[in-house]
Subunit: 147 residues, 2 copies
């Protein structure tokens, strides 16, 4: 996010759903104060595979992949859409934890809890995206046994 | 970083050294183009411990810790300081890989390679920092066996 002249970078849980990134917050705090202004954001995910060794230190490298998504973060006002996104989120981070007995009334539960609970959901629909990868064979990656 | 009206968030290797964060780049590309303007930046690190389970989905949480550093990214012009930071970087990401035989001439090597090689080093000296932690006992964290 951008907050005045400074950027403001926070790690957040997210889920990719129907072509958008969904995030959630507790309805208060600095992050939400900025997000609620519906400003341009950059959403970046990455995976670091490891450090690529090379006998020449200057040629050591990092193996990774990353995706950057640019767009506006918009607060989701539709409770149905919010509930769907939250359900996707819990199933991403705790797959199988909320099993069948809970599922039936889940969306309804969330919908009613949204009234009493300040949980907020934000949607970033990408205006554009970039991706980068530096892939190497795993035997070139640094591990402590190489010492 | 901030790039026009959009933020620009990139994952980077870094090392904390003498009260500053040191980063390095290859002397070209979007990131360096923005960094070279010596703008206000936000440098964020985090560690996610896991997802905190709760029978009520709304109460599920994330255990993590994070630090946000705000300041200006400045290009390091002193080759000695740049070499020192690069040496710290390789030793952080490949501890012990460049062992004693290399160490002797290492700084000198780097210094000369800095002339021919466009490797660049940036220093962020914190203007202010914030930190946050949400700690829980590990037996409350989600793991697949809970399914």
């Amino acid at each position: 996010m951008v907050n005045g002249i400074f950027p403001y970078a926070v790690p957040m849980n997210y889920v990719w759903h129907k072509g958008s990134v969904y995030l959630h917050g507790m309805g208060s705090g600095k992050k939400e104060e900025i997000l609620s202004r519906s400003q341009p954001v950059c959403f970046t995910i990455y995976k670091e595979h490891g450090t690529v060794t090379d006998p020449v230190p200057c040629h050591a490298d990092t193996a990774y992949m990353s995706v950057m998504i640019f767009g506006k973060a918009e607060k989701v006002s539709d409770p149905e859409e919010a509930a769907e996104a939250l359900w996707k989120l819990v199933n991403k981070y705790m797959p199988g934890y909320y099993s069948n007995p809970l599922t039936g009334t889940f969306v309804e539960k969330y919908r009613s809890s949204l009234d009493e609970n300040p949980v907020s959901v934000y949607r970033i629909t990408p205006q554009w995206m970039t991706a980068k990868e530096n892939f190497v064979e795993s035997n070139k990656l640094f591990n402590l046994e190489m010492k």
